[in-house]
């Protein structure tokens, strides 16, 4: 019998943390009992959350210490406001003092919270800087994407500032939301109602194929836990050689795919025989495909 999957996507922030960490190890900071809520939302007649839509704390995975943050996608689309952002910044900065085996960010967010836009934008910049400081100190920062909101806006830039990104098939990663592109540039440029288009432009499989994310997993807590566990203690250098290598990789992509308008053209060019099938295949088969393509390139 195949055991029932425990969906990451369906779970809330606390359930995600519980499922990823060793049982009983989680200790939350600045928790809901302290009632550090947004002072800006009530001004606009909006409800507040006692945890400000993000849970932060420390615990262990396979007995190894980690710091972990989980955005609560059900509260304001996981959007980053002043307090929400400061909790994540403070958590990442704590890594400089406690030197955990990783900082794990479970991102599930549309980006900056417009109701406190300026504070949110700065917070996103401060989080990014904290990520760099942790990385420069040799502490790996791992992003996990698998919630309903995907990872958009400023949080998508944070994600790519980390050492590693793990996402489920359902994960999406892009700076612009489909609705924003359609609203500004027109439906001819991007039809936000076309779910297949959204998926193959911004979805995790496309991102994995072009090398923007590092691991794709099924929407299953154990699969996420395994992938996070494998990332512990593995940091990418933050030096000139590494950035030159990254630059060459990014430059090659733009040169190679100039003027391309559909992801399927890119997948075909990368060696995928049947681009129309990519959306249907399960994570295991997809990962075998990626391994074959990477083997062929090597």
């Amino acid at each position: 019998m195949i055991p029932a999957r425990h969906s990451f996507q369906e779970a809330g922030a606390r359930a995600r943390i519980r499922a990823l960490l060793d049982a009983g190890t989680f200790r939350e900071f600045c928790g809901p009992a302290q009632r550090h809520t947004s002072p800006h939302l009530p001004t606009l007649g909006m409800p507040v959350a006692f945890d400000e839509g993000v849970v932060v704390g420390e615990g262990a995975i396979d007995g190894r210490p980690v710091l972990i943050a989980a955005q609560e996608g059900a509260f304001m689309g996981g959007a980053v406001g002043e307090v929400h952002g400061a909790k994540i910044t403070g958590l990442i900065e704590r890594a400089l003092d406690t030197r955990p085996d990783a900082v794990v960010l479970l991102l599930d967010s549309g980006g900056v919270r417009l109701h406190e836009a300026n504070a949110g934008l700065i917070a996103v910049g401060e989080i990014q800087r904290a990520v760099f400081d942790a990385r420069a100190a040799g502490i790996p920062v791992v992003t996990v994407i698998g919630g309903r909101n995907g990872c958009y806006g400023g949080t998508s830039i944070i994600a790519r500032s980390c050492d590693r990104i793990i996402a489920s098939e359902e994960g999406r990663l892009s700076v612009s939301g489909p609705e924003v592109i359609e609203a500004v540039e027109g439906v001819e440029e991007f039809d936000a109602q076309d779910r297949a288009l959204v998926w193959r432009t911004m979805g995790a499989k496309h991102r994995r194929l072009i090398g923007e994310i590092d691991a794709l997993v099924a929407d299953d807590m154990e699969a996420f836990r395994g992938a996070v566990s494998e990332s512990l203690g593995k940091s990418r250098p933050l030096d000139l050689d590494e950035l030159e290598a990254e630059h060459a990789r990014l430059a090659e992509r733009l040169a190679r795919f100039e003027g391309v308008s559909d992801a399927r053209e890119i997948w075909a060019a990368l060696g995928v025989n049947d681009p129309d099938r990519v959306s249907e295949i399960e994570a295991d088969e997809f990962n075998r495909l990626v391994a074959t393509l990477e083997g062929a390139r090597a």
């Binding site: 002072p39 007649g45 002043e82 109701h115 504070a119 996103v124 800087r129 400023g154 990663l173």
Partner: protein
């Protein structure tokens, strides 16, 4: 100027005029929206990384800017970098998203971070406009960012914000009068600590002063936001979480 030259050369942008005013001497070249080069002030060479005409930052422009930062690190170790920020944010388009523009913007910020770690002073100056991710990837990636008096900084225009948040425009406009976290404008971004201050009058004097300042060990934007009353919780919440409380 003859007619041929007028056709081939774009009109001089306000970014280029600003660069002229800042330095004793500046040698810059322009490729589309990208303006790069070197300026000299009191005999000191300063790398210039700028955009003009409220550029939209697509993956290609972000990459070209990152290239420039990498080159400065290789060819002129320690040389200060002045970023003249002038953008309408990231470019909204299908191709940029297919390429993963967030990765290109992150790469640009990462290069600027590494430059600062390697001892380059990185100063930002918002010329006409800085929008959202265009402010995050450039303005926030500096040691200190300033703005021209007429500049505009914003996350989103108020009418669009009203549509998305479903708060009526007149109510938003009214709230903006008292809340620095909500509305566009240089004054608000100064109060929340994102901008250090405004440069007006003797621009070279401002640049000289910014260059002379020793870079702090830590980012002080939170402290500034608290002192100026525009962002009163961020510093203490972050400190509390860092302490594990």
């Amino acid at each position: 100027m003859n007619a041929d030259a007028a056709l081939s050369a774009p009109p001089v942008s306000s970014t280029e005029r600003l660069i002229d005013a800042l330095f004793d001497q500046a040698s810059i070249s322009r490729a589309g929206p990208l303006v790069t080069g070197t300026g000299t002030l009191d005999g000191q060479a300063i790398a210039i990384l700028a955009t003009a005409e409220r550029a939209q930052i697509g993956a290609d422009l972000a990459l070209a800017m990152a290239r420039n930062v990498l080159d400065v690190m290789r060819e002129a170790p320690g040389r200060p970098i002045l970023i003249v920020v002038d953008n309408s944010g990231h470019r909204l388009g299908r191709w940029d998203e297919l390429m993963g523009n967030n990765g290109y913007l992150a790469h640009l910020s990462t290069c600027l971070y590494l430059a600062r770690r390697r001892g380059h002073r990185v100063i930002g100056l918002v010329n006409e406009l800085a929008v959202s991710a265009g402010f995050m990837a450039l303005g926030m990636a500096t040691d200190a960012c300033y703005a021209m008096p007429e500049a505009e900084v914003r996350v989103m225009a108020l009418n669009a914000m009203s549509r998305v948040t479903k708060v009526p425009l007149d109510r938003l406009t009214e709230l903006c009068a008292t809340s620095p976290v909500l509305g566009p404008g240089v004054a608000n971004f100064i109060r929340v600590g994102a901008l250090r201050g405004i440069w007006s009058g003797d621009l070279s004097a401002h640049l000289r002063e910014a260059l002379a300042e020793m870079p702090g060990e830590r980012d002080t934007r939170r402290e500034l936001g608290l002192e100026r009353g525009g962002r009163t919780l961020a510093r203490d919440i972050a400190a509390q979480v860092r302490a594990g409380v």
